[in-house]
């Protein structure tokens, strides 16, 4: 049942996909603006928008509908917690190969809707590569399915990809079909500390070209120091990690082996969100060095608790750079100019740059400067303080044919602007 929350916004928590479609359809008929909320861990992402008339929360859609262990697939309702889903899959020795930073409470639907990803993306791809099918409630009050429940399927248009990373602006994702993978028998990592951006780039490029089939290949960088990190998985993980170490050595870098490597990677994930580098004592950590000390436990992460997804409140701003692998040295050098931390997927050209807390005007200037330096690679502002978000376009995408086509698509799916209006690229 609808219930009024603190302000005038009405909150609905549909208990089934059908109820979700009904609620959305009714809102659209009345010309209401609907805000779609999953775990609320990324509410600060996207454009700042006027308060919605209706908040549609997916927490009532939290069922694991099917887990087909033998087929390594699962059907999951959108509001199911990512952590809960992973726990269920782990019981069968399986996993959803997506490991985005999760400050606690992130949902599968929210992850799919934002297209967030983590270090395992190197091997397994993003949500778009692992979502086999999707059911979405559309503003006409109906449910549409696309894709299927099998890992290979080319029947019909791939609307599942369209829904991934669309920030809920085409409809409400209510259920997804996921491809799962076996959990690796073991993992092992190597980390090579570096002191120049060139070393960072050389080491990363050498690993990216090597036929190692790594689980993850990351970099970390802060104030003239950093590390190249490689994680291997499988029964021969130790051998593979050592092989990665030899590749780094050939590139002139000495690597350290980490058999107990979870904390290193938790640090990399955490580095994609604001507040990650701030320890409980308020001092900033320094990425790889800090994580090494915390190896074997997750304590090294520190990290402040998320406040309703508004991770920018601590004053830091996180910019995601969709770049190219060969821009790494450039990214590191821009980061140094602004005292920023960097984590990134070296072979994929994706980097998260965290600007330190400071005067909003300085943060805005820094964002402008790095967009200028890295153009045309898109620089999207994710977490950022209120004052910063109020004064910029977080997407940084100009008008053009691609955006115009996106608008035509939005008009076809959501002609009245019911779903998360204004949140997405170009104010869609």
């Amino acid at each position: 049942m609808p219930s009024a929350s603190s302000a005038s916004v009405v909150v609905q928590r549909p208990g089934s996909p059908e109820q979700g479609a009904e609620a959305l359809g009714a809102a659209a008929r009345e010309g209401q603006r609907v805000r779609i909320v999953g775990g609320g861990t990324k509410l600060g992402w996207g454009n700042q928008v006027a308060q919605a008339d209706l908040e549609l929360r997916t927490e009532g859609l939290s069922r694991l509908v099917e887990h087909n262990e033998g087929d390594l697939t699962a059907v999951v309702e959108a509001g199911m917690g990512l952590a809960e889903a992973q726990e269920a899959f782990a019981a069968a020795g399986q996993m959803l190969s997506l490991d985005p930073p999760d400050p606690g409470g992130a949902t599968v639907g929210g992850l799919v809707a934002t297209g967030d990803s983590g270090p395992m993306r190197h091997r397994y791809g993003a949500a778009r590569d692992l979502v086999l099918g999707v059911t979405a409630a559309l503003p006409d009050g109906r449910l549409a399915h696309a894709g299927g429940r099998v890992i290979k399927n080319v029947a019909g248009y791939d609307l599942a990809k369209l829904m991934c990373a669309s920030y809920g602006t085409l409809g409400v994702i209510v259920e997804v079909v996921l491809r799962l993978h076996p959990r690796p028998a073991a993992t092992a990592s190597v980390g090579a500390p570096v002191a120049t951006a060139d070393e960072l780039a050389t080491g990363a490029a050498a690993l990216a070209r090597a036929p190692l089939e790594l689980l993850s290949l990351d970099v970390a960088w802060h104030e003239g120091r950093g590390a190249v990190l490689a994680r291997a998985a499988g029964s021969a993980a130790l051998d593979a990690a050592q092989a990665a170490g030899r590749v780094l050595l050939e590139a002139g870098l000495e690597a350290e082996l980490h058999e107990d490597d979870e904390a290193l990677w938790e640090e990399q994930r955490a580095g994609q969100r604001a507040g990650a580098g701030v320890r409980d004592d308020g001092e900033r950590g320094s990425g790889y060095d800090d994580a090494k000390r915390g190896s074997g436990s997750n304590d090294g992460e520190g990290g402040s608790a998320p406040v309703n997804g508004e991770r920018g409140d601590g004053g830091e701003a996180v910019v995601r750079i969709s770049g190219r692998p060969d821009q790494l040295a450039e990214v590191a050098s821009v980061a140094d100019e602004h005292g920023a931390r960097v984590v990134g997927r070296a072979a994929l050209g994706l980097f998260w740059l965290t600007l330190p807390a400071g005067d909003p005007a300085a943060t805005l200037a820094a964002i402008g400067a790095l967009r200028g330096r890295l153009s045309p690679s898109p620089c999207v502002v994710l977490d950022a303080p209120e004052a910063v978000r109020a004064s910029l376009d977080p997407w940084g995408v100009g008008e053009g044919a691609e955006l115009a086509l996106g608008r035509r698509l939005k008009a076809r799916f959501d002609p009245q602007g019911t779903c998360n209006p204004g949140l997405f690229v170009g104010g869609m």
């Binding site: 087909n68 979405a136 099998v150 019909g156 085409l170 993978h181 036929p211 996106g406 035509r408």
Partner: protein
């Protein structure tokens, strides 16, 4: 007119519009006036050059079918543009004159996706075959659509390769791969075309050029790239394609093992996958398929085996070796015998040749056959094979089975003699029932061949009316005039309404020939 014949059905529907002369476009569009028909031909010659425009019926016969030969249609003309600008000019002219068009790569598709529209324009992209950029530092290669699949791997060799490898890879074009979201034998491990396309330059149906994606991942905005790949030429023409390539695996280990039954082979596949092994490829053939391929490839396969598995492991050498022992143990546990490991590239090629011979070899066994492309959840393989066997007995027709076993993609070959009255129709019925068996098992009507014209009538079995409406929303955003490859993919012709705007009845709707989306 170039002598193309209008099929009776569309002539009827066109005349049903009232007042207009019997016309020959496949979807009931009014016929082009003689003056516009002349403008079209002259315009195409101006845009692409005299030699690049084919209008003679004899020459057009080359293009009347794609890889699915039992569908034929003669286009009004075929045009072979050489540049993106020429493609723009071609589509702009079609748009101005309201002429439908179909894009074609190498014409090796197996769903009739490149079947021409009668009286429409066929845009043949085989002249656009330049490799434009090889950027190994960023693991990217940029090509034109007519470049063949195998040429992409050649362009980045020896250190890199392009993973999707449809069995037609020597001839099939990357543009066609993008349209069909092609897979191949190695897609269980490596994924499909859609997992490797990072950027496209697309010419839309009105001639507008759009750059989707680029070298970078995660460009902010809708994943129009993801929607375009696999859209079967209904959203536009890709004229410049940016692909991700991977470092070539250090080692490859290929072997075959023979089993008593397909069930035993199927259980072996499930156990291999459950053990966390992700082979580069796992292919299965049943006894009839073994018999046929053996006649052609002479690999010395035992003819008394119920099934053969071809397993290819690739990756770092240490991992490959460790996994090999594990997989062999699993095979033996299920009664796998006569294990043959390829000792060198020549032996590996022989094993693959034997697998790939299954289709052509079938021609020796049976004068005609239909190939299906159903997908099932891997664990349902034994039930579905039982059902196929039952259907085969019921129809008294032989069905040979070839599978991409890792991802549950079945290619049953339904054998028949087209000279016998009614046989073709019965074979088609049987094929349709096999697809239904796949759907009942929770699968799909097509894993890699696409819907095209061949499977569009099955679409309502897999998708609801509402699902199809959602598909149409996407199509209308890209091609509101409905000129791009009409009559494919969707089960019934649909129109695009104005959005947003007041409802107006379209003449075709009034005549009951199309339903409004």
């Amino acid at each position: 007119m170039d002598g193309s014949l209008a099929p009776a059905e569309s002539a009827d529907s066109a005349s049903a519009l009232g007042g207009e002369p019997a016309a020959g476009t496949g979807d009931g569009r009014p016929e082009l006036s003689p003056a516009d028909a002349d403008r079209l031909v002259a315009g195409m010659r101006r845009i692409c050059g005299e030699d690049a425009v084919i209008t003679h019926p004899h020459d057009l016969r080359t293009y009347e079918s794609d890889g699915l030969l039992h569908y034929r249609a003669t286009p009004r003309l075929a045009v072979l543009p050489r540049t993106s600008e020429e493609v723009q000019g071609v589509l702009r002219l079609c748009h101005e004159l309201g002429v439908p068009w179909v894009a074609r790569g190498s014409g090796s598709g197996l769903s009739g996706g490149a079947l021409p529209v009668e009286d429409g324009v066929l845009v043949v992209l085989s002249q656009m075959r330049r490799v434009l950029e090889v950027d190994l530092d960023n693991h990217r290669v940029v090509v034109e659509p007519g470049v063949t699949n195998v040429q992409v791997s050649q362009a980045v060799a020896p250190d890199f390769f392009y993973p999707p490898d449809p069995s037609s890879q020597i001839v099939c074009s990357i543009g066609g791969n993008v349209a069909e979201n092609s897979g191949g034998a190695h897609c269980f491990k490596y994924g499909f075309t859609t997992n490797y396309v990072t950027g496209l330059e697309v010419v839309l149906s009105d001639g507008e050029v759009v750059q989707l994606g680029g070298h970078e991942l995660d460009r902010p905005g809708y994943d129009l790239l993801g929607a375009f790949v696999g859209s079967e030429g209904t959203l536009g023409v890709a004229t410049r394609i940016t692909l991700r390539v991977l470092p070539k695996p250090e080692a490859t280990k290929t072997f075959v093992a023979f089993f008593e039954t397909t069930t035993a082979a199927g259980e072996t596949v499930s156990d291999i996958v459950s053990a966390g092994v992700v082979p580069g490829a796992i292919e299965m053939m049943d006894s009839l398929a073994i018999e046929c391929s053996e006649q052609m490839a002479h690999a010395g396969y035992p003819l008394d085996a119920g099934a053969v598995l071809l397993v290819e492991l690739d990756g770092p050498r240490a991992e490959c070796d460790a996994r090999f022992d594990e997989v062999v143990a699993i095979c033996e546990r299920h009664g796998g015998r006569d294990l043959r490991v390829a000792r060198d590239e020549a032996e590996r090629e022989l094993l693959w040749k034997t697998r790939k011979a299954a289709f052509p070899a079938m021609g020796r066994l049976s004068p005609h056959y239909f190939v299906q492309d159903g997908v099932i959840p891997r664990t349902r393989l034994p039930d579905v094979l039982d059902r196929i066997r039952g259907l085969s007995d019921q129809y008294g027709m032989q069905v040979a089975n070839v599978f991409h076993a890792g991802d549950g993609n079945l290619h049953p070959l339904v054998c028949y003699d087209g000279k016998k009255e009614g046989e073709a129709q019965r074979a088609e019925e049987l094929s349709a029932l096999i697809l239904e068996a796949c759907l009942d098992a929770g699968g799909s009507i097509t894993g890699e061949h696409g819907v095209g014209v061949d499977k569009k009538r099955h679409m309502p079995k897999q998708f609801s009316e509402c699902d199809l409406d959602a598909f149409q929303r996407l199509r209308c955003a890209f091609d509101p005039a409905g000129l791009a490859n009409p009559g494919k993919l969707m089960p019934t012709p649909r129109l695009c309404g104005e959005v947003p705007g007041p409802y107006r009845e379209h003449p075709l709707e009034k005549a009951g020939l199309a339903e409004r989306f």
